[in-house]
């Protein structure tokens, strides 16, 4: 019973980490976007992800309270006070924002995945996860609508935008495999209908992504390399940079209210 509870906490935190780290990355665009309207739009997407992370961490905190009582961590403690090895986010979300093409290519591949994933998660037997997914799916529909349009515009825009987009896709392609890799705790929760079988989403994802890339006159990169490890805390070096910034105040002044 306790193991199951641990699996669930790990799972919820992993989903929170995916959202937080991507939200943190997207926030970097604030006052850096190609024009003002896009600045505001990107901030909205970032806010959706950070808000989603908050919901997952609040839930993880509640779950911890059931087991650990007053020793349970708050949502903020979970978000801010772990070291690199204890974050469970996918590698693809921690990669630096790169140029606008890279940011949009990442967003598009993740948005397509999230849409497929959340469509399943709304049916989770865990009612809290289902509720979070219910809210997130609406946000995701909009995110995807945006990122999809940007793929078309940049892929089929100028020579330069096309080249930047092809380069971006190549750089991140090997990280997409992890979207479909099951962690041990996700597999354990599968039986009770709490988690989702990621591996089953791969062919749909591929189909949607391939179709859109073709429409955008972009080549689907070859699957010659794959890197995974985020779910076990085996991150890229970029994760440390993110945390150094994100945790700066909490680390410099431990244990204070802000």
């Amino acid at each position: 019973m306790k193991d199951k509870q641990d699996d669930l906490i790990n799972y919820v935190i992993a989903l929170g980490d995916d959202s937080l780290i991507l939200g943190q990355r997207l926030s970097e665009w604030c006052y850096h976007a190609p024009f003002l309207e896009e600045d505001l739009a990107l901030a909205n997407v970032a806010l959706d992800f950070i808000g989603r992370a908050q919901m997952f961490y609040e839930y993880a905190s509640q779950l911890e309270t059931r087991v650990l009582k007053e020793n349970a961590r708050s949502a903020d403690q979970i978000a801010f006070l772990r070291d690199t090895r204890d974050y469970r986010n996918l590698l693809i979300v921690e990669l630096p924002i790169g140029d606008f093409a890279f940011t949009m290519a990442r967003q598009f591949t993740v948005d397509v995945f999230n849409q497929l994933y959340l469509q399943q998660l709304v049916n989770s037997t865990d009612s809290t996860l289902a509720a979070i997914a219910g809210k997130a799916i609406k946000e995701t529909d909009y995110h995807l609508r945006r990122s999809q349009e940007w793929m078309l515009r940049l892929g089929d825009g100028t020579d330069e935008s096309h080249q930047r987009m092809e380069k971006a896709l190549k750089e991140l392609w090997g990280y997409t495999a992890e979207l479909f890799t099951m962690s041990a705790y996700e597999t354990a929760l599968l039986r009770d209908g709490i988690s989702i079988d990621r591996t089953a989403l791969c062919s749909d994802w591929r189909k949607i992504v391939t179709e859109l890339l073709q429409q955008a006159t972009l080549k689907v990169p070859s699957d010659e390399w794959q890197v995974t490890g985020g779910r076990e805390g085996l991150h890229t070096e970029h994760q440390g940079d993110i945390l150094a910034k994100m945790q700066y105040l909490q680390r410099t002044y431990p244990g204070l209210e802000w």
Partner: protein, 98 residues
């Protein structure tokens, strides 16, 4: 004046219906490459506090506006038609609502 087609990210006027039953109201403008994109940016730029249930966008260049020099012929003739207003008609006090 350049041709509308060649202007990058032309200006769009944004109208928002704040709730069902109300008219769309002009709230400002923004730049977008086409009407569809304008609609999406209007959502991001003008409804951050759920101000709207419906958005209209209109390319600013497509708006035909009355000119100030027409004001005299357009509006002044309407001012001497008080019979179009309910207050023009006096009713006895005993009839309270009409």
């Amino acid at each position: 004046m350049t041709d509308k087609q060649t202007v990058h990210r032309p200006l769009f006027e944004i109208f928002i219906r704040s709730k069902r039953g109300l008219d769309h109201k002009h709230v400002g403008s923004l730049h977008a490459e086409n009407a569809q994109q304008a609609l999406e940016y209007a959502r991001d730029c003008y409804t951050r506090r759920s101000e709207g249930v419906s958005i209209w966008v209109v390319n600013s260049g497509d708006i035909v506006a009355s000119q100030e020099e027409d004001a005299a012929s357009f509006y002044d003739p309407m001012e001497d038609k008080p019979y179009r207003h309910a207050t023009h008609y006096v009713l006895p006090d005993s009839i309270k609502n009409m």
